[in-house]
């Protein structure tokens, strides 16, 4: 029972990261109909900058801000180099597949560039709160774990406020619902889209900072986070912010459970396979619910 509760808490920490990364996917998908698969690399950048700054004895605030800024700028760079120019350049398969390929490539560029800077070694971060552990009955929660969960919730709340209560948020939502209409109403689409990628980068970087404070960071963590964050976003339906958090939690708990109860070596892979199978099954189920054949497809665009 204790182990199980511990798994539920450990899952929440991962879920914090996946939902922050998932917001990035959802923003890119709903504003631009693209997949930004470099999300996990932005996480990595945030983590590496933060850890390096701490190791250089810079104040925590500087380290955090530095990590967020670098990740945000990298997010804009991905958009400016790998997404916008390619979409305006007629790839046969439409925007989603083109952006998937281009951002996979962009992610590899980031990872390899980072490897040239930082090397391949893991870097350990000083825990912010040392080894403070909060004991609740038989269950132990590290203060840094709580910080990670709380920080992620704060990040999500801030994003929600930004999207719902500010002018730039309104502009992002306007582009999401109708890009042409938005630009005709005076929204500067290019700038707003770049801003939304900056925001995705900052959120990815935040996830990286929060989780690296729990242990270590290395330049090779990006790909896995890209995949898991994307799967969380897909499980919650791409573009749907409300269902993202429970979906991310499912992925996080499954991952923790598999590596706790089964081999640690393939735990992550097995969890991934289970979630992917769930995705396939839910895909099948959705289609059947709508009449078992191509009807849903046609209703979207034949009319």
């Amino acid at each position: 029972m204790t182990t199980f509760l511990q798994v539920l808490i450990g899952g929440a920490v991962f879920a914090a990261a996946y939902s922050l990364i998932g917001i990035g996917y959802n923003l890119a998908y709903s504003t631009f109909r693209v997949i930004n698969f470099a999300q996990g690399q932005l996480y990595m950048l945030g983590a590496m900058v933060y850890v390096t700054a701490l190791q250089a004895r810079l104040p925590v605030v500087v380290a955090v801000l530095g990590g967020l800024l670098v990740a945000g700028v990298a997010g804009v760079a991905v958009e400016r180099v790998a997404i916008t120019p390619i979409l305006s350049h007629g790839f046969k398969h439409g925007t989603i597949q083109a952006s998937l390929l281009a951002t996979v490539a962009a992610g590899i560029v980031i990872e390899n560039a980072a490897r040239l800077i930082w090397g391949t070694n893991q870097r350990h971060a000083e825990p912010l709160f040392g080894s403070v552990v909060i004991q609740a009955g038989s269950v132990a929660i590290g203060a840094d774990q709580l910080t990670a969960i709380g920080g992620a919730l704060l990040g999500m709340l801030a994003t929600w406020l930004l999207l719902q209560r500010t002018s730039i948020g309104l502009q992002i939502r306007a582009i999401a619902s109708n890009p042409l209409g938005a630009s005709l109403q005076g929204v500067r689409n290019g700038l707003v889209i770049s801003f939304s990628f900056f925001l995705s980068g900052v959120l990815g970087g935040l996830a990286g900072i929060l989780l690296s404070a729990l242990g270590s960071a290395s330049v090779s963590v990006g790909l896995q986070l890209s995949i898991l964050g994307l799967i969380a976003a897909m499980l919650g339906t791409l573009g749907n912010m409300r269902r993202l958090i429970p979906a991310a939690y499912v992925v996080g708990v499954l991952q923790t459970a598999f590596s706790t109860y089964f081999s640690t070596r393939f735990g992550d892979d097995l969890a991934l396979v289970v979630v992917l199978c769930g995705l396939v099954v839910s895909g099948l189920w959705v289609r059947r619910a709508r009449g078992g054949r191509t009807v849903s497809l046609a209703q979207q665009s034949a009319v």
Partner: protein
């Protein structure tokens, strides 16, 4: 020599390809047997041959059908492992081991294709990650059989000769290339490309999208398995690290950089795939970086890859003038100029037995979208040769009724019969096979294809292509194809697009697109044709042409259901007219009767005095 050239020039592209590839195959085999290479060089060249097979398979699924599945590398691994195990542990020769592996790969891919291909394009890309992620775990579970994470060594090379093996692989690669090119240039290649371009139009033309995707997936995975079988003996060593997502990326890169919609692109891609790491040897640490930059650059500057780039360059250097003027001038002399229709082709409707006399009966169809009652108890009875108008204000449910009849929308209740056959449970493609064709309000044209190919996709129902006969180009297949091409040109000439047949459909003016869609729907040889606003956005002279076209269609015995906002036009061409408003049929009758109906005047025309007909 000059006679040979003349013969070659007058022969079909299939004959040229066959002769050319036979020569290439013989030359490669001879070169290999002459043993000019050392073992290392031979291995590298063999590897290129293997990658040609792997990439041909990937391109036909990704490039042509537009389905990106990362499971490709799993089937390469499957082929390599199954054949290596059979050779090492059961002492089977490569031929037997390879055959078993390929059959197993095809069977497994059929199962996974059945599940995965229900997912839309992008979800497929992510869900197909399952299989490659399994590889390390499977290799570990396999224990001594699969050699765990350290893999298997000592995979034997046939005849113990790298040169003979190179020659064999070269011949296999050439045969695969030949078969794939035959497929891609034939009816199945067109059907797959139509799925990539526009699944809805493909279904409306009778292509069973799901089944075609599965067959593309199985063929693609089968070729990946074959590639894996051939890969093992080259270096005699396989391990899970040779087949992970990290090896899938270079394959995708090579596919895009080479040119993923052409078979020759796979050849170019495999040279890039194998030689690039050789060239990059001093920079092996940043090889993935270079792959990624290349992929980005290709996506940005050469979305059609090297082959596409070269083709653009050739087209630019040798403009249409030289290659086509002669032909175009000739065609124009013989055929009617654009926008006036030519002589009627042999027959618009297919010669059919008693069933062609059947009528299309839609009875009491009811449909809700959420709380919106889109169709309420609508009934239509369409007879052969009749032109029935369907009018009503925007949102009256006209297009929805079309979707119900053509199978794109499922009504909550009601029935649709063709003669005595109940159509309600049939998907759109099956209804096209039964003889119901349609056009779309916003045109659904396959833009990356030529005008002629668009119409040829409509012939799919009659060509009924099968993989194997098409891949080896049986004489019967070639006869049917050439007859289909003749008929497609006749149809195009008839709607006034004869001289544009070989032009890309992209960039055609709107009026021509509308006529192209009609020609494509007629290629199905339907008994009933549903035209969704064919006159919308047309110039008055084009409308006159259209009137003529519709008159000829109905004269040939095809029943036409016509949705149109151009009321005078509808009143001229239609015998009876059905008026819908808010999903209900409010009037039905001749033009004069409709014009007098108070309900119509109130609902549709919105004014209190009758309209002049």
């Amino acid at each position: 020599m000059s006679r040979l050239m003349t013969t070659l020039r007058s022969s079909s592209s299939f004959q040229r390809r066959t002769v050319g590839l036979a020569l290439v195959g013989v030359a490669l085999a001879a070169l290999a047997f002459a043993q000019p290479f050392n073992n290392y060089q031979a291995s590298i060249l063999t590897w290129i041959g293997v990658e040609v097979v792997v990439l041909l398979g990937f391109n036909l699924l990704f490039g042509t059908t537009g389905q990106m599945a990362f499971s490709h590398i799993f089937f390469v691994a499957l082929g390599a492992y199954v054949s290596a195990i059979l050779m090492l542990k059961a002492n089977q020769p490569l031929v037997v081991a390879g055959a078993i592996a390929v059959v197993a790969g095809a069977a497994i891919s059929a199962v996974f294709g059945f599940l995965l291909l229900r997912l839309r394009a992008f979800y497929l890309a992510v869900a197909s990650l399952i299989l490659p992620l399994f590889i390390p775990a499977l290799a570990t579970v396999g224990g001594p059989l699969t050699g765990g994470l350290s893999g298997l060594t000592g995979v034997p090379i046939p005849f113990d000769s790298h040169s003979i093996y190179l020659g064999t692989v070269a011949v296999i690669a050439v045969v695969c290339y030949w078969g794939t090119s035959n497929l891609l240039s034939g009816a199945i290649g067109r059907a797959w490309a139509s799925i990539r371009e526009d699944e809805i139009a493909a279904q409306a033309l009778g292509i069973d999208v799901y089944r075609q995707k599965i067959s593309a997936y199985v063929l693609s995975s089968g070729m990946a398995t074959l590639g894996g079988v051939l890969y093992g003996p080259i270096f005699g060593f396989i391990s899970p690290t040779s087949f992970g997502l990290n090896t899938m990326l270079p394959i995708v890169m090579a596919s895009v950089v080479g040119g993923m919609t052409w078979a020759i692109g796979a050849v170019v891609g495999s040279f890039v795939l194998v030689y690039l790491p050789e060239l990059l040897d001093p920079f092996v640490d940043i090889a993935p970086l270079i792959y990624a930059v290349l992929l980005l650059a290709a996506l940005r500057f050469m979305p059609d890859g090297i082959v596409g780039g070269v083709r653009h360059l050739l087209a630019w250097a040798k403009p249409v003038i030289r290659s086509r003027t002669g032909k175009i001038a000739l065609l124009q002399e013989r055929e009617a100029p654009v926008a006036t229709i030519g002589p009627q082709p042999v027959a618009l409707a297919r010669a059919r037995t008693s069933s062609s006399q059947a009528s299309l009966t839609v009875k009491d169809v009811d449909l809700h979208y959420g709380g919106l009652h889109v169709l309420q108890n609508v009934s239509v009875d369409l007879c052969p040769g009749e032109v029935r108008g369907l009018i009503g204000p925007n949102g009256a449910g006209k297009t929805t009724l079309f979707n119900v009849i053509s199978g794109f929308a499922m009504p909550d209740s009601g029935s649709i019969h063709l003669g005595h056959e109940d159509l309600i449970a049939l998907p759109p493609s099956a209804r096209a096979h039964r003889g119901i064709a349609r056009t779309f309000q916003a045109t659904h044209i396959f833009e990356e294809m030529t005008v002629l190919e668009n119409v040829l996709v409509g012939m799919h129902v009659h060509l009924r292509p099968r993989l194997f006969p098409l891949a080896i180009q049986l004489p019967a297949v070639r006869r049917k194809e050439s007859a289909a091409r003749t008929r497609a040109r006749q149809l195009l000439a008839w709607v006034g697009l004869g001289d544009l047949a070989d032009q890309p459909a992209k960039g055609l003016p709107f009026g021509s697109l509308k006529r192209l869609e009609i020609a494509r729907a007629l290629a199905v040889e339907p008994d009933f044709l549903l035209l969704d606003e064919p006159a919308g956005g047309l110039h008055p002279t084009e409308v006159a042409t259209l009137e003529h076209i519709i008159a000829s269609i109905s004269a040939s015995g095809i029943g036409v259901l016509l949705v149109e906002h151009n009321v005078p036009f509808v009143m001229r061409v239609c015998g009876k007219i059905l008026v819908l408003d808010h999903g209900r049929a409010i009037a039905e009758g001749t033009a004069a009767e409709i014009a007098r109906s108070p309900a119509v005047i109130e609902a549709y025309l919105g004014q209190a005095h009758p309209v002049a007909v």
